[in-house]
Amino acid sequence: MEKIVYEQLQEQLFYEKMENGLDVYILPKKGFHKTYATFTTKYGSVDNQFVPLGKTEMKQVPDGIAHFLEHKLFEKEDGDVFQQFSKQGASANAFTTFTRTAYLFSSTANVEKNLETLIDFVQSPYFSDQTVEKEKGIIGQEIRMYDDNPDWRVYFGVIESLYQNHPVKIDIAGTVESISHITKELLYECYETFYHPSNMLLFIVGPVDEQKIMQQIRDNQAKKSFPQASEIQRFVYDEPKERAEEKKVIPMHVQTSKCLVGIKAPTVHPAGKEKLIHELAFNVLLDYLFGKSSPHYERLYQLGLIDETFMYDYTEEREFGFAMVGGDTSDPDRLSEEVKQILLSFSGDSMTESELERVKKKKIGAFLRSLNSPEYIANQFTRYAFNEVSLFDVIPVLQSLTIEQMDQIAKQCFRESQIAVCQVVPKERK
């Protein structure tokens, strides 16, 4: 077991790679009641074309299958695993993103038992025709719920407008139609390809004894056998730099319009330190341009174009990166224009060192605050680890950022042809 000490943050992280390839991290947190553990596979909604384990041909699977699999894994021959967790005083959950599927529990007692339950249920799939059919009703309602949610519609709408080919533009849950094609055989095929321990990471954070926990995991894994893993082959999508469409308007039964401006990063580093630098620099730049202390925020607020829902964020995953700026607004066209103007007119020359320092300070404080949260630590650590960087490098990387890096991002990304707009507007009353 390796021990990594983060002096300034006063944290100690323990790491070991199991013989079957599983990465295990433990972060002891004294003083907390809660232990939070996530068991994550590097498999998400964008992995819709791949070579199944033991095969040689690329295969396309129905949209939404990674998320469907996430739901189904909870069900076993003798009932569902939620029951098991609650008997042990834990609450369990799971989520699927573009590139990851995570299973988790949090509990303040019976940590060893709950951890055993978590690892075992994720590593013992059980799908039947009958339960697969039944799940279609539940997920159908999950999809409907998001259909009625204007924030979700505008969010996915802008991604759809940015991407021409890449499956990031497909809703994570798929559609009622696409999930109707899911079968138990397909679920097993996806499971076997992506749930190999060498494609997974286990993270435990809480008031735990790292030696005992690590031994428990070694013993658990030693009891199980897995086939030899080969490198997973995913389809590589050819995605142009340019957006798919300039503007999308979605009429809905709403009173207030919503508007998001999306920005597409033309290329991103697949992994490593450069990736972390790029992601943090992009976020610092957005904060500088649109944060509450920026001149633009003040002006847009005074003009009545934005309110407290105004947000900005940059997301970067394995092979794509996009930013979003916007929120509820009384005038979606005017807001789109204003935001575009701010983006297109920025250059590094207009930023001062002291302004950059201020945004860095803000980000450092926000990072410290997020370390109060075991959920944040486990989820973000895993995300970063899959990208071959460490969450705990965030502060030094933030401190090292330069105006030139901001300028470069603006030159690469703030181009008319890489910007798309999506608006949700009130439907005409009948």
Partner: protein, 426 residues
């Protein structure tokens, strides 16, 4: 378990909770007054005006720039209601300088800033600044309207409006749309002065702090006016019973129907039966092992979510679920059947044990966050009944099957609200 010290300074209760769990220190300011039609909108506007500028930093930009300088200290406000009290909350969360290379007294600065926000706002001619008030009125209107676009929140709001018609609880914590325009900067300022004189005020300081240092800083920065506080007045909670169930069906252009059901529990936070009510809710619909989740979602496959929650200070139990519009009767029947099962004591010892374990877990997790801890402790301020954390933990654990059945007997169906699609089947 929790080391909470309460000191009264100028009729304000200062709660200090020292702990080294966090990387930040948290300040939470709470002001409580009765929920009334006359004040609800003024009160909903006030904290947003306060957070828009102080005498020293008189604009959003200046104030937010200063917060950035304090290593991204966060300042945020919100409104809530507990029973028939209307509560303003203002929070500042600031990094603990121990984790920074630069040593600056961030906690002291944050306390000073909080006192500036609540006591030394940006003024113009002895009242709030007109353009700030105008902007925040506009934002408030958007905030009130936003509820209509989030169907889950909307259905919940409509259920409460229908169920609590004529009671203060029917008012929304964000105020009434029709009352916003009439508010003037002068009127709001008068109201503000009154709140400082009359509201019940609690300040929580949680983190790597020493009690004496905090109290000393509070005493020097927080100079409140002469206060005639309605010391710990408990608002009387109105209850009513219906002779007939109220059924409200509303149509909108939605794909998913929202079925929300309100019950009167006739038990509130101060009653001895409170823990039994928590157990009841846990077995019925509070968790993913509960009857609603198992029967509506897992067995009948009708919904993605089907759950219940309590409003403990008002004595309400609310069921919420998202279903296909055509499944209205089916879902309703299943939910009613689960309620019947509860009343008949038709639940296993295993369900009881499971629920006790999960309630305990939930409480311990809540108090792991500064924000959750304050919310749990604040129940004691809102209610006459003081329950230490230890009692919360043992309370649910001691509840017997008979007590759960007895509480179930008190629960009365009041209102069924269904938001359905335009061509929704009846």
């Amino acid at each position: 378990m929790i080391n909470e010290k309460i000191t009264t300074i100028q009729n304000m209760n200062v709660h200090t909770i020292p702990t080294d769990k966090y990387k930040t220190n948290t300040l939470v300011w709470k002001m409580k007054a009765p929920l009334t039609k006359e004040t609800v909108t003024l009160r909903a506007l006030l904290p947003y005006v306060l957070q828009s500028g102080t005498a020293e930093y008189p604009s959003v930009k200046q104030l937010r720039t200063y917060l950035d300088e304090l290593y991204g200290a966060t300042l945020n406000v919100d409104l809530s209601k507990k029973g028939e009290s209307h509560i303003i909350t203002i929070r500042i969360d600031v990094a603990n300088e121990v984790f920074l290379q630069e040593k600056i007294p961030l906690l002291r600065k944050a306390l000073k800033l909080l006192s500036d926000v609540v006591l030394r706002p940006a003024l113009q001619d002895g009242r709030f600044v007109d353009h700030i008030v105008a902007q925040e009125k506009r934002a408030l209107k958007q905030r009130i309207q936003a509820v209509y676009d989030d169907k889950m929140r909307y259905a919940n709001l409509r259920l409460i409006q229908e169920m609590c018609k004529g009671e203060p609880y029917a008012l929304h914590a964000n105020g009434e749309l029709d009352d916003v325009d009439r508010i003037t900067a002068e009127q709001l300022f008068q109201y503000y002065k009154k709140t400082l004189e009359e509201d019940e005020i609690d300040l929580y300081v949680i983190g790597d702090v020493q009690e004496e240092t905090v109290l000393e800083a509070v005493a020097s920065h927080f100079l409140l006016p002469n206060r005639t506080v309605r010391a710990s007045v408990k608002e009387t909670v109105s209850t009513k019973t219906r002779d007939k169930v109220n059924e409200v069906i509303e149509k909108q252009d939605v794909k998913q129907g929202k079925l929300n059901i309100g019950y009167r529990t006739n038990v509130t936070y101060e009653d001895d039966d409170y823990y039994a009510l928590q157990m009841f809710n846990g077995i019925f619909g509070g968790f993913s092992h509960s009857k609603l989740f198992i029967n509506v979602r897992e067995k009948a496959s009708l919904a993605y979510y089907a759950a219940s929650r309590l409003e403990s200070h008002k004595g309400l139990l609310m069921v919420m679920s998202g279903i296909e519009p055509s499944n209205y009767q089916k879902a309703l029947q299943i939910i009613e059947k689960q309620m019947e099962a509860m009343k008949n004591g038709d639940f296993t010892d295993e369900e009881i044990t499971q629920t006790k374990a999960v309630i305990r877990n939930q409480l311990l997790e809540t108090i792991d966050t500064p924000r959750g801890l304050v919310e749990v402790l604040y129940h004691n301020v809102v209610s006459k009944r003081k329950r230490p954390i230890e009692e919360w933990l043992s309370g649910a654990d001691r509840v017997s099957r008979e007590e759960i059945v007895r509480v179930a007997g008190k629960v009365e169906l009041d209102t069924i609200y269904f938001l359905t699609g335009m061509e929704g089947a009846e």
